[in-house]
Symmetry: C2
Subunit: 239 residues, 2 copies
DNA sequence: CGTTATATTGAAGTGCGTCAAAAAGTGTGG
DNA sequence: CCACACTTTTTGACGCACTTCAATATAACG
């Protein structure tokens, strides 16, 4: 059940069998979530955190005029609101984009984990810091990249992240969202998102259609996006 | 020396005298840093984290074309690269904007802290999660707010953060940066930053000149920015 | 097969960028 | 005190990336 989470963590640092057992014991109550369901509302009191087992989820914030910014996408293996463990409530909503499967880790058990498993605690802390690193890269995207580079960068990032959890086929992957939602990730309207996607397609870099991304020229896409994966902290590093 | 850090943490949850002593023992080697000095370079191997005692620092990422995005501003009391404790190297540079004073916490001592002080560990974890919450709000700003709202929002945020550490006078505060740097925070060119600042000034909301922010109409500024401080997690909440 | 969601295109408007120059402020040395 | 260099702010003119509004095409679906 927690294979994908383990795979992500173990890529960074060794997990002992005992730690693995602790993590397994931490995660309970598997549930299915339909597409486009809000699973956590801003300000709601939290006593557990969600591990995404399958599907696709996002976190977003919105403004009064209806404009919405998706601040993070989450793929299987992501502990999507682990930060809620210390925050106790979120400053944003969390929703599913595709039909998903989730499991829960109670904050009570997490507290106990911090008391008994310092190394595991540091690894979970790392994983929230990794989320923050992605937020920073998205700040760079939203503040400084132009439309086509924003789309290209998003595709590059997702390719790397899905690779880690074994969800690529070649360089292609499923991305079950529509262009409106992609626009909400990269700070563009649907109309313009459509146009930059056409540009990527016509230049032979990548196509996104029917919920699937097909990367035709990965090097071109990376250079277009000025993609540097160091912010994903893929290297091995004991902590 | 660590009063401002303590003040921030204690606003969230109780710190026992023993924990306070542990923190005091953690922090060593006070140093002065001149303005505009890069103190951490992207990719550099880290074995200590920086606590900002006085001054103003930032983290930034840049693109090949020279465009730069400041992803975070740090005020006194901020543990500005505590995330580096688990990341071991940063995906971005850190520099001082104003003459600053810093102190250091070795990662060795931090590791020991996670082994002996679970509650303090959770509080430090919280403080990195708070940084991430600010990143998310900046994503919303950069992706969805217009120029004047971006500037207004930045001023509102800084007012709150400086208030916590006792660095406001009334609603006014020092902000020793120029308009270029402010533009790099809010994703605008200097020229346009100058224009939105003029708008805020002419509308009687706030003025920013000579490194000082004077807020004339806080309510107007907040509503202009659509400022909701919940992402700063100012409420008391044991963790 | 009709209904609704999604993608696509066109035309026109605008917020912000770019380029260039002037004005104002700041610091240094004589 | 002024002279000078340098940084920062401010303004103007113009261009373009992206938005807005509107319509059509295409796909998805019960």
């Amino acid at each position: 059940m927690i294979e994908r989470l383990l795979r992500k963590l173990a890529a960074r640092d060794d997990i002992s069998p005992e730690e693995e057992a602790t993590l397994t014991d931490l995660i309970t109550d598997v549930e299915d979530v339909p597409a486009r369901k809000t699973v956590i509302r801003k300000g709601e009191r939290l006593n557990r955190s969600i591990l995404l087992l399958d599907g696709l989820m996002c976190r977003y914030k919105d403004l009064r005029n209806g404009r919405r910014q998706i601040t993070a996408l989450h793929v299987p293996g992501d502990f999507l609101d682990l930060h809620g463990f210390t925050l106790k409530q979120l400053d944003h909503d969390v929703m599913s984009l595709a039909p998903s499967r989730v499991a829960y880790a109670s904050h009570e058990k997490l507290t106990r984990l911090t008391e008994t498993h310092p190394h595991l605690t540091r690894m979970l802390w790392f994983s929230t810091n990794l989320d923050a690193a992605m937020h920073r890269e998205w700040e760079l995207t939203l503040g400084q990249r132009n439309g086509s580079a924003r789309a290209a960068h998003l595709l590059c990032e997702l390719r790397e992240r899905l690779d880690i959890v074994g969800m690529l086929s070649g360089n292609d992957f499923d991305l079950p969202i529509n262009q409106t939602e992609m626009g909400e990730c990269i700070g563009l309207t649907v109309v313009h998102t459509n146009r930059v996607l056409r540009e990527l397609r016509e230049e032979g870099a990548a196509t996104f259609a029917k919920g699937r991304v097909i990367i035709q020229d990965l090097e071109k896409l990376k250079s277009w996006a000025e993609f540097d994966p160091s912010y994903l902290y893929l290297g091995r590093e004991p902590c």
